[in-house]
Amino acid sequence: MPVPILTARELTKSYGRGPDRFDALKGVSLDIQPGESVAIVGKSGSGKSTLMHLLALLDTPGSGTITVDGTEAKSLNGRRLNGLRNAMFGFVFQQFFLNPAASVLENVVLPLKIAGVGARERRRRGMEVLEQLQLADKARNKAANLSGGQKQRVVIARALVNKPQVLFADEPTGNLDSATGRIVEDILFDLNQNHGITLIVVTHDHDLAERFQRRLYIRDGLLITTDEEHAA
């Protein structure tokens, strides 16, 4: 069996202190193999986003360990950690987080700018990924002037521009109509099947979840084996 690209052991995360303390994750363990497509399914507030942020090393767990490609995340120094966030992971947030005043292209190439890639190369790779997502004609538009579906594709382009090995997407179709949602879904599965990108997607849409190789169900901060809601 190959080395899992991501492993989590007994992850916990709680917010607040004292009486306000809330345990969002209560001990989650999982393995994700390279090239897999995994859906994380659960109700609102069940801890899906929290888990994704921990797996993408954007936040630190209360306890438990995360291993990336065989390396324990806690042992990484700041530079290595930033390198992983920048080059290994792509993250599509539940909200768009676009800079409305900047152009679509500028928004998309932000990870390359952070990585220190030169201006011409940034432009080339930015246009390449925009073409892949059929947004090349919008490259010069201000991000504020796009439709919801276009914005969703822009943030996917931004997550892909540095050619990540793992793409995290938090409800990528949550605020799209079903037709546009379908287009975005097809893009994601194409990346997984034809480009070998490991796909980890949060969704509460069960039809979408069925298209993934594997589904992880989460409830009140714990993984459960069956989709009881769907079974019911």
Partner: protein, 428 residues
Amino acid sequence: MKPLEILKTAIANSFRSKLRTTLTVLAIFVGAFTLTITNGLGTGISNYIDTQLAAVGPGNAFTISKTDTSGNPGSGPKKYDPTIKRVAAGGRPGSSQLTLDQSDLDKIGAIAGITGVTPVTRINPDYVQWSTHDKYQLSVSALAGAQPQLASGTNLDDTNSQAQLLLPVGYIVPLGFADNSQAIGQDVTIGITDATGTMHTVAGRIAGVEQDSLLSSSGIAVNKSLSTALTQAQATGAPSTAASAWTDATATFATSSSAQVSEMKSNLSAAGYTAQTLDDRIGTVKTVINGIIGVLDAFAVIALLAAGFGIVNTLLMSVQERTREIGLMKAMGMGSGSVFALFSTEAAFIGLLGSVIGSAAAIGVGTAVSGALARGPLSDLPGLHILAFAPGPVGAVVLLVMIIAFIAGTLPAWRAARQNPIDSLRYE
């Protein structure tokens, strides 16, 4: 992120909220403007004093007199001692001054570092006259090595056997000349009384016309040839001892460090002489002026500190406003160091903008005002440009403001740098 990219992004960011940046720049502008003006005032006044000092005498000379050891000055009249020669000194009645004779001059000349000693002779002429016009009183300022500020003509030439003098500009019209240029090359007659009360006349040629100045009296300056002629005329009939007794002497030395100067001074004082350089005599004036400028500078720096808090405020608002953007960049792998650099560069850039605009405005306004003052209210002090701007001090002001801005920017920048990406992204 590459440094150049950080610089570009920081500059672009500072223009994102134009009104806020403009107001902060304005606050810095006021501070930088004030500081540049006070600095210009300092440079202008000290330039003026330096040229005025040069007009009074050379920097590398001591004025030397014998140290009075006979008693505490001001404790009443002193006991007469027939072995010590004295002359009456101006000022307090009953006070007198020890005199120097040839043996003293030789002793002074022997001290290491002294290159020449000349006794200072007091010449007290009675009048000056041109042709048959009216006679006017005059005094002679006889400090060797001075560099007077000439309104026209040339400086004195001590090697010339022709008796020469420099006339203060105020004498031109009374003596009957139409203007400065008419006076140059003309011979005037100087009347001087000797020890027996007989009036002698000595002729001298006008080599140049001297500007009015702040520090030197409005006496005429004479070259060696004329000074010798006047001294001889004055000494006619005086006892021979009086001709070889002087109240002070001027000792010149090669350009030296201040340590060497003070060593010479202590050697002279050990030998029983009091030596003062020009700086010693005029130094207090400079100290007062530097003090005043220091106070003005302090006000300017206070203004800048206030502007510094303006920068802190502006950047804290920016950090707050851009919390989610910072979170996003960190989530994409931007290091804390880069985030810190981004915000502190923005602060330094705002500081640069404010200080460059402020200094440029100060130079523009200052030069105009200074020119107007020099032509108007201050025209009695020719050569005084009350505000002068040298590249060094102005550059230092710009740098100082940038440093203050940078320091002001560190608090917000540090705040931005230590943010946790997810907490920042959750910020509404």
